[in-house]
Amino acid sequence: MKIAIDGKPIELNDGSDVFDVLEAAKINSEAVLVKRKNRLIPHDEQVKDGDQLETVTVISGG
């Protein structure tokens, strides 16, 4: 299946979850929260073909 995170397309096996997406996108799972349709979702939630995910950066400031 194909999904996108922050606009970047990623191909994954069916049944993959957000952890898998972040691993494939080389994003540390501790450094971001993930939104789908503008709603936060847990990192172990499965993604579906065509999902458009967005990250919210945890780290900010100086």
């Binding site: 049944g15 979850d17 952890f19 540390n28 799972s29 501790e30 450094a31 929260l33 709603r39 936060l40 979702i41 847990p42 990192h43 172990d44 939630e45 499965q46 579906k48 919210v56 950066t57 945890v58 780290i59 900010s60 400031g61 100086g62």
Partner: protein
């Protein structure tokens, strides 16, 4: 070390199309080290209880205290101000927001606007103190130096002076659990045992309290989102290459592989400092509390003016 998120997934088969919080609402967050799912409301409630428990357990605040809250406009300090104001409706304390303007154009001026907009809606007393007024120098004036070295020292000194200026009994800062873990690791890497001790007490030091120190940074981000608290999420243009950033990346790498690492680092420090009280003297130049004859701020300023 705990199990990795992937191990937890495999063993508990937590992967699912959606998850429920224990209250029955749809979950928005997995706390990996517990394997527990939370909705926004339950996580917010837990954060608020954590904040109040940290304050009461460590007797950080007492009735009648004037609490200065250091507010930069970033998420941590905005949550701190929001929660402290909520607390002031239950406990008779006075909250005064103080902001340090380091003089970083395009960064601090923007974050200060966020603070002022919030303050205007809440009616909290607020004062801004600038490096320019205090040290006759702005961070933007510094060339060919490590900005963070100067900025960190100046901020610590000015926050303390600002807290005294507003007659505060306590100075609350927005350090979260991640910040604490990073500081410990940085002190280990620098071999700085002095900073591993309990902070020294001195009449010129306004007691610094960290009511968010037991809350993970990512949970504070969820808190601001769920509670629609405005915050400035810009990154300081000078922070691209500082030790804290490296410590942050390193700890996050470990935390993602071994959940609970951050809490273990904190536990390690608590274990070794329990009876270690630091000593303090006063700077012979400015009279501010210092661990040496001349405080770090005066030492840095002297170097800049040579």
């Amino acid at each position: 070390m705990g199990k990795t998120p992937r191990q937890i997934n495999k063993e508990q088969n937590t992967r699912a199309t959606s998850h429920a919080c224990k209250c029955g609402r749809e979950a928005i967050y997995l706390r990996v080290q517990e394997g527990a799912h939370y909705c926004g409301r339950c996580l917010s409630g837990q954060i608020e209880r954590n904040f109040e428990k940290t304050i009461s357990k460590e007797k950080m605040i007492k009735k009648g205290d004037v609490v200065a809250v250091g507010v930069s406009g970033g998420k941590d300090s905005m949550v701190l101000l929001y929660l402290m104001q909520k607390l002031s409706k239950k406990v008779p304390i006075k909250v005064v927001a103080i902001t340090i303007d380091e003089g970083i154009k395009g960064y601090r001026d923007r974050s200060i606007r966020v603070v002022k907009d919030f303050i205007n809606k809440t009616g909290i007393e607020h004062q801004t103190f600038s490096y320019k007024d205090e040290f006759d120098i702005s961070i933007d004036d510094l060339k060919d130096v490590k900005h963070c070295t100067y900025c960190g020292v100046f901020r610590r000194t000015l926050l303390n002076k600002a807290a005294r200026a507003v007659h505060a009994d306590k100075l609350a800062v927005g350090h979260n659990l991640d910040d604490e873990a990073q500081s410990i690791l940085m002190n280990v890497m620098r071999g700085d045992i002095k900073r591993m001790k309990n902070p020294a007490k001195d009449e010129k030091f306004v007691e610094r309290i960290k009511p968010l120190k037991n809350i993970l940074e990512k949970e504070l981000v969820i808190y601001v989102i769920v509670n629609s608290i405005p915050y400035f999420d810009g990154e300081c243009p000078n922070s691209y290459n500082n030790v804290r950033r490296d410590a942050q990346r390193m700890i996050n790498e470990f935390e993602s592989k071994y959940p609970g690492t951050k809490s273990q680092i904190i536990r390690f420090k608590r274990g070794i400092i329990s009876s270690n009280q630091g000593k303090i003297s006063h700077c012979i130049k400015c009279g501010e509390p210092a661990s040496h004859e001349i405080c770090k701020a005066c030492e840095l300023l002297a170097g800049l003016k040579q």
